[in-house]
Symmetry: C2
Subunit: 500 residues, 2 copies
């Protein structure tokens, strides 16, 4: 059936942007982005604005009538760019440095045009099946066993929350049906994670209604790795108290130091007590793409679930977090709900993403990851991660060789924890600690204020420690050399013992 009317009757004041205008501005924005990356070294990494500066420049009410794309693009240059902290800057070394990449940007561009909601197989067969295939590729690349299936969520916080929810479902206490309030048959449920675990574990547990007291924090050793004996003792103690331990969260690549919990030992305890072992490898999971770093996931072939974030260290634009799980049936049992309006003839033969989580609609995120893996190839991705690790080790070697600086934690991957520690004569330890904390905070803020690089901090053994994380695809040895020079410049400026 042909319909000659279609396409002809659109009122000029309705519809989308005319095609010629879309092409013109689209090309303009592609060039804008290419220019942005070519000149990004000239931009300050940290936004050089004060709170409220951007708001003050924006109208307080929406435009009644439409404006031109030219005006909007001009405002992106004038207002938005100066208010950005540039995560794409190669001298962004804060938090976990991450990066987007060209094939990933193209993937997002296409996804925005397709605008698929991959809630059911039928609403987006492409994303449903591509997700399965690409996550299986990634599983092979990081050396996980084929017993693990993957599913894409937005963030590691959400991935871990879903893993803990599946573990909660496994306790067989009808929590999905009856909940946890108003019950006298339900003991205190317990989850275990190290003191260095990410705050998302706390948040997931709070959200799930388990409460902060459900999370027992296990002390760590001198290398910030979970104390396995303390874990075992805590579980025994809780069991004696009548509590119900049901889940352990091990971290492979903690946020403060990238320390790696001893999963091969933790797995023995989780198996002994039949607890769900969830591995938070949001950061370090990507390292396993490098054959000689695959050992970071040692022991994970027996874990129940594992989260890794391609948007952290696999050059994937934010957001894309992957949960690998050995019990997709439990995840499904925890979350599946198919109302009549979502029933489809094929539903029993296919996988529907929305069966496995809180979210019904899901973006076509697999597309960008597929394009990235194909464009760079396994070896290309491994080469880039390997280079980041080399640069971090190089930086750590400079710190170690310097009299005024010290490495403060092992640096197994591409994160270095360090601090300035120039000594003063006749200073008490307490005074020294106080002075060094203040000095390091001042160095960080001074350096960040220059806009030439961005670092963040943490606290280890009550000491302020600086963190240098390398993860941007554009970061080169020159950028790392530059931040080292800048750090020493700050130190020289801030630490003048002769004046004291």
């Amino acid at each position: 059936m042909s319909n000659p009317e279609i396409g002809a009757k659109r009122l000029p004041s309705l519809g989308d942007m005319p095609a010629d205008e879309f092409r013109r501005h689209g090309h303009e924005l592609i060039d804008w982005i290419a220019d942005y990356f070519e000149h990004i070294d000239d931009l300050p990494v940290l936004a050089q604005i004060q709170p409220g500066d951007l708001k003050a420049q924006l109208p307080t009410s929406p435009p009644q009538t439409g404006e031109s794309m030219d005006a909007i693009i001009a405002d992106i240059d004038r207002l938005i760019v100066p208010a950005l902290t540039h995560w794409s800057h190669p001298s962004f070394f804060a938090y976990f440095a991450t990066s987007t990449s060209a094939p990933g940007i193209f993937g997002e561009l296409l996804s925005a045009a397709f605008d698929a909601k991959s809630m059911l197989w039928r609403t987006s067969p492409a994303s449903t099946e591509l997700e399965e295939v690409v996550l299986d590729w990634l599983r092979q690349m990081i050396g996980l066993d084929a017993g693990m299936s993957g599913i894409i969520y937005d963030t590691a916080s959400v991935s871990s929350m879903h893993a803990i929810a599946a573990a909660r479902e496994r306790v067989e206490m009808r929590i999905r049906e009856e909940g946890m309030s108003g019950r006298r048959d339900l003991p205190l449920l317990r989850v275990y994670a190290s003191e260095q675990a990410h705050s998302s574990i706390d948040k997931g547990i709070i959200t799930l209604g388990l409460g902060q007291r459900a999370l027992r924090k296990i002390p760590t050793d001198k290398d910030f790795r979970m104390h396995v004996k303390a874990l075992a003792a805590a579980i025994e103690e809780d069991k004696r108290a009548g509590f119900l331990p049901f889940c352990i969260v091990a971290t492979v690549g903690t946020t403060s130091t990238s320390s790696i919990d001893p999963v091969p030992e933790i797995i023995l305890i989780s198996e002994e007590h039949a607890l769900w072992l969830h591995v938070d490898a949001a950061y370090a999971g990507s390292a396993a793409v490098v054959p000689e770093l695959r050992h970071v996931l040692d022991g994970c072939h027996r874990a129940d679930s594992l989260v890794m974030n391609p948007h952290k260290w696999l050059f994937t634009p934010f957001d894309l977090s992957v949960l690998y799980c050995r019990h997709m049936d439990l995840l499904r049992r925890a979350f599946s709900l198919v109302p009549e309006y979502l029933r489809t003839p094929e539903q029993d033969k296919v996988r529907s993403g929305s069966d496995y989580g809180v979210q019904l609609g899901r973006r076509f995120r697999a597309l960008k990851l597929w394009m990235i893996i194909r464009y760079f190839g396994h070896e290309g991705l491994a080469a880039r991660i390997r280079e980041h690790v080399r640069l971090a080790k190089l930086f750590a070697s400079w710190v170690e060789e310097s009299r005024d600086w010290a490495v403060m934690a092992p640096a197994p991957l591409a994160l270095v924890c360090f601090r300035a520690c120039p000594q003063l004569k006749n200073e008490s330890e307490e005074a020294s600690e106080k002075r060094l904390d203040a000095l390091n905070e001042a160095i960080m803020h001074g350096l960040n204020a220059t806009g030439k690089a961005l670092l963040s901090h943490t606290k280890l053994n009550d000491k302020i420690v600086l963190r240098l994380s390398i993860g941007n695809i554009r970061t080169t040895e020159a950028h790392v050399r530059q931040v080292w020079d800048l750090l020493n410049e700050q130190l020289r400026y801030l630490h003048r013992p002769s004046e004291k």
Copy 2:
């Protein structure tokens, strides 16, 4: 400090795609998308593949070395497009028809390049402040009072879950700290929603550990609106039983029929019992952008929270859901957690998005919404929504005028529930219902299989009912006329009483 080395020392085998290649392929993809939209009417709406077809065409392991963008783009044409159900197609009338738009696509393109994680003010002042401003614009556009602040999440499921979590926090039973398991002081907590409420409310409640029995479903009237008297009676009954009612979810625009719960009456009950009133206006909230439809939000000026989805009916690429909330302090109390590594000097003076939710990292979603509101203007957006409502009413009038079809629910907005109901002589009511259910399912599947349009269904009063939802920016009267012709063609083909 200048550093002439930077930019010069990148190894050719590392780094991102070279700039000239980025420009070339970027321009190519912009034209690809322009062509896609220009010829989208020629594509089948529903993917014409069988489960497993795409998977079977993809390699089972990742490429070792990188491939060219040319090869990848060729595979998008060859493999991905045929496996897509085209949500951007103007004859997509299923579920809630939605649509992306050019300024929204541009916003996503830029966001992917900036790759900002707006967890703290400092990590992305632009997204933090733009989000506040744009959500205040949107608040004004839909006529909500200034007591409501907005925050962006990914989906309505997540928005509603957060609203119910804030309500849970307000019961002052230390659930964040102590959780709900192993407690004898916690009565059964209860939430109320109509039988027509979206499944995301059930899922949110399950996730939060409240359990399905915590959700009491209130019957609806003949127009599928919550029975207010039944709500009041349920709350009274639960209180007498010693339960703790704490939240009511009213729906403005239910998924099955777009019915609108009587919020002005429900608010009186929520106030009488001091319950949190959350309004799920994920679909219909956008209608309030049209001045003469603003009444859909009547009563919401006293609600505690309200979710609306610009990605549903405001031409915003998926995902972008907005939660408006009158008690941001409670939302913050339910979710804020600031570990040392996220502490910043300005944290007490600014808003940090991650304080208000499960997710730590948050995409720069405000950018696309800002670009859309500016490009179309309030009047332009209202004109498009108004046209969709006009088209739906036109379609409903055709259905009403036809002897063989019937409208099955009021159609206040741009969703029409209808079914074929040709009568046969001497048929029992039971036989007739069975026949009509089968006939309507067959019409839907027959129509969808043509690829010329896509409808979905629901069940109302135990009858299979078809749903036609109009929400795509490219949908014109010709598309609506075409689907009506196609429906009648299916009916003529499937209903041949003379042959029976």
